[in-house]
């Protein structure tokens, strides 16, 4: 069951690489939030009930509801166009994300470690690198933030792999989420909207040598 969830997580990455509208990205983020909700329930049998409840609450409240909602609010408030504006064609994007997944699978097979659950490793790393790819290949600031949240989701999958032994690390990861969602989104992006009428990354390109 956990494998099914993780593999569907990997499939969302492929879908994300060819999505054209910001709305689609948000729906995928919501979907990923629910996947992580299920995955954290299934993969953390050893930690205390209270901690598990806290983690599951965080995935559902932050990842699946709050963050996509805030982004949707920002998009509406700043009247950002609905198109994602990639630099590369959809086909090239799909090819790149597929090769990211293939490379991580090959990499994980070269690791001789019985402590490692390969599925977690593959899905986490490919989500992380897909997030980085989304950041560099999309024009808008808002898609950069979406890319960053995808990275966070990938990191969360990885933290589930070690969460049974060290719940402390899981809680740290949650701090990271809250840092990103509250600070970057809530406070900062609202400011960007106030100062810039058009939150396009092109406006923020003058600080260089």
């Amino acid at each position: 069951m956990i494998d099914i969830l993780l593999i569907s997580m990997a499939i969302t990455l492929l879908y994300m690489s060819i999505a054209n509208r910001l709305q689609t990205y948000l729906s995928i983020l919501v979907f990923q939030g629910f996947i992580l909700f299920g995955a954290s329930y299934l993969s953390l049998p050893d930690i205390s009930t209270f901690n598990l409840l806290f983690i599951m609450l965080e995935t559902i409240v932050f990842k699946a509801i709050a963050v996509p909602w805030i982004i949707r609010y920002i998009i509406k408030r700043n009247k950002i166009t609905r198109i994602a504006e990639p630099y590369l064609s959809n086909f090239a994007s799909l090819l790149i994300v597929t090769s990211i997944i293939v490379v991580t699978i090959v990499l994980s097979n070269s690791i001789q470690d019985r402590n490692l659950d390969r599925t977690f490793f593959v899905v986490a790393l490919s989500t992380l690198f897909t997030g980085l790819y989304l950041i560099v290949s999309r024009k808008k600031i808002i898609t950069h933030i979406i890319g960053y949240i995808v990275i966070e989701n990938g990191v969360f999958v990885l933290s589930l792999a070690v969460g049974n032994e060290m719940p402390l690390l899981l809680n740290l990861g949650i701090m990271l989420d809250i840092f990103a969602s509250i600070f970057i989104l809530g406070v900062f992006f609202n400011k960007i909207g106030d100062v810039l009428k058009d939150p396009d990354v092109n406006v923020l390109q003058n600080l260089k040598d």
């Binding site: 701090m175 990271l176 923020l204």
Partner: protein, 480 residues
């Protein structure tokens, strides 16, 4: 004691944000200054004690803390001057927020030095990002916003990388059956860590730390931040905050130095360090913005220090000494920068010139600062840089040493061209300043803290007290 200090910091910064009265505001800053100096002295007397389980006042931490204590006095003084004189748009609210963020940044840096636990270090690094971003956004202009945005975003990614590194580290711990990720326990169990995961973890943690440390690949955010932040803040960002990256890297490297992967990690660090010096050279020879030039000079010095650390032997000692002296020297330039800006209202080298005519005391500071950061013989950094070359020579890294020497020559040239343009030649744009009469007179006493810093750095370099040498030697012992 640490919790009490933290609580006091939060209380003072909250009071600063709420309070609108000028006198009360500065009294609070003064109170914090006294508390912070007292805290530094306390840690010095209780050296090598474990506090609250997760903090440890080991010699490296205390050394960096004392350096920060020392520069915090001129920085807070100039911050006061800056808000009072230079910042025409300051309101009681922005003033309160500015000082609150500044003292939070100073506290977070000192806690990151003292932390003995990887997770605690990580948390305080995150707090430095938060407080620094408030300070960078102080001007509330679109360029400041851009600098802040880039800084926050890159630091957010870097902090995620460090987190991934910690996760991989915990995978490497599984085999050893250890669950404690304090540096003490990690160093004790270094031999039992799984080498593959340890290497992967080092790679991620190192990449993440470069955002604070100012090395390739994530140095860019720091440059924009130092450019856009007010001068006194730039002084902290260019010294104490970079030290946070260095101290954290040093501790992680100390863990890996107890394993066979040490030479591998050294190679990675060496490549990144020499690339950083190269990047600094490229920008410093063609840059036209003096504040960014000072920022790139920091990249160069961090590159040299990490190179020495990777070379090993006497290099480890040289690296710590270099970082320590750099902490005293670099703020000089950033603190003096505000006075330059007050005269010319610009930081482009085309608008600057004949600085000796307008502010003699300040011009001598810039000249001495140039000699110091270029590490010319009578200056402090010469001592440590000489040791760096010694370590590269005795470590057999002759090629790297040759490359470094050539790059440093270029850097001195690039730095010298701009500094001498600023000091001696008439400015390019319109000859003399238009309103020659209206050029603000600058009180020479304002440059006094800079002189003190330079003299202290030279004194400590050529005549180090036994206690300083002892602290550095104790820190060197962490690297096995």
């Amino acid at each position: 004691m640490i919790w009490m200090f933290l609580a006091a910091t939060f209380a003072i910064s909250t009071a600063l944000v709420i309070n609108k009265n000028r006198g009360v505001n500065y009294a609070l800053v003064l109170l914090y200054q006294c508390l912070f100096l007292g805290f530094g002295v306390y840690q010095y007397f209780y050296i090598n004690t474990i506090q609250h389980g997760v903090f440890k006042s080991d010699p490296l931490a205390v050394l960096m803390l004392l350096a920060l204590c020392f520069i915090s006095v001129p920085v807070l003084f100039h911050a006061y001057r800056y808000i009072d004189k230079d910042d025409s748009e300051a309101t009681p609210h922005t003033r309160g927020v500015f000082f609150a963020a500044l003292i939070l940044l100073i506290t977070a840096c000192s806690m990151a030095y003292l932390s003995d636990h990887l997770a605690v270090t990580w948390i305080f690094i995150e707090i430095t990002t938060l407080s620094a971003s408030v300070l960078i956004y102080h001007h509330r202009s679109i360029r400041a916003l851009e600098g802040t945005w880039k800084y926050v975003f890159i630091c957010a990614i870097s902090i995620t990388f460090i987190y991934v590194g910690i996760l991989f580290l915990s995978l490497s711990l599984k085999e050893a059956g250890v669950q404690d990720i304090s540096f003490t326990s990690l160093m004790k169990n270094a031999g039992k860590l799984d080498p593959f995961w340890l290497k992967l973890s080092f790679l991620f943690i190192y990449t993440g730390l470069t955002a604070k440390l100012g090395l390739v690949p994530m140095y860019t955010a720091g440059i924009d931040a130092k450019d856009k932040a007010p001068g006194p803040v730039g002084a902290i960002l260019a010294s104490a905050l970079m030290n946070v990256g260095f101290v954290s890297l040093y501790r992680v490297y100390a863990v890996i130095s107890g394993t066979p992967s040490m030479s591998w990690a050294g190679t990675i660090m060496m490549i990144a360090a020499i690339l950083s010096v190269f990047v600094a050279t490229v920008y410093m020879t063609r840059i036209k913005n003096i504040k960014r030039m000072f920022a790139y000079s920091g990249i160069e010095h961090m590159g040299i220090a990490v190179l020495a650390l990777a070379a090993g032997g006497i290099g480890v000692y040289a690296a710590i000494l270099h970082i320590f002296l750099h902490t005293l020297v670099k703020p000089v330039l950033f603190l003096q920068y505000n006075q330059i800006y007050r005269i010319y209202q610009s930081k482009s080298i085309y608008d600057l010139g004949n600085y000796f005519r307008y502010n003699r005391a300040g011009a001598i500071v810039i000249l001495l600062g140039f000699i110091s950061v270029a590490a010319m013989p009578p200056s402090a950094l010469f001592v440590s840089e000489f040791m760096v070359f010694q370590s590269l020579f005795s470590g057999g890294h002759l090629l790297i040493m040759a490359v470094l020497l050539i790059l440093l020559t270029f850097i001195i040239w690039g730095l010298g061209v701009n500094i001498f343009k600023l000091l001696f030649t008439p400015r390019i744009s319109e000859g003399l300043l238009k309103e020659e009469i209206n050029v603000p007179k600058i009180n020479p006493w304002e440059s006094l803290p800079q002189y003190v810093l330079i003299i202290a750095s030279v004194y400590l370099a050529y005549n180090p007290p036994a206690k300083l040498v002892w602290m550095i030697q104790e820190a060197v012992k962490l690297i096995q």
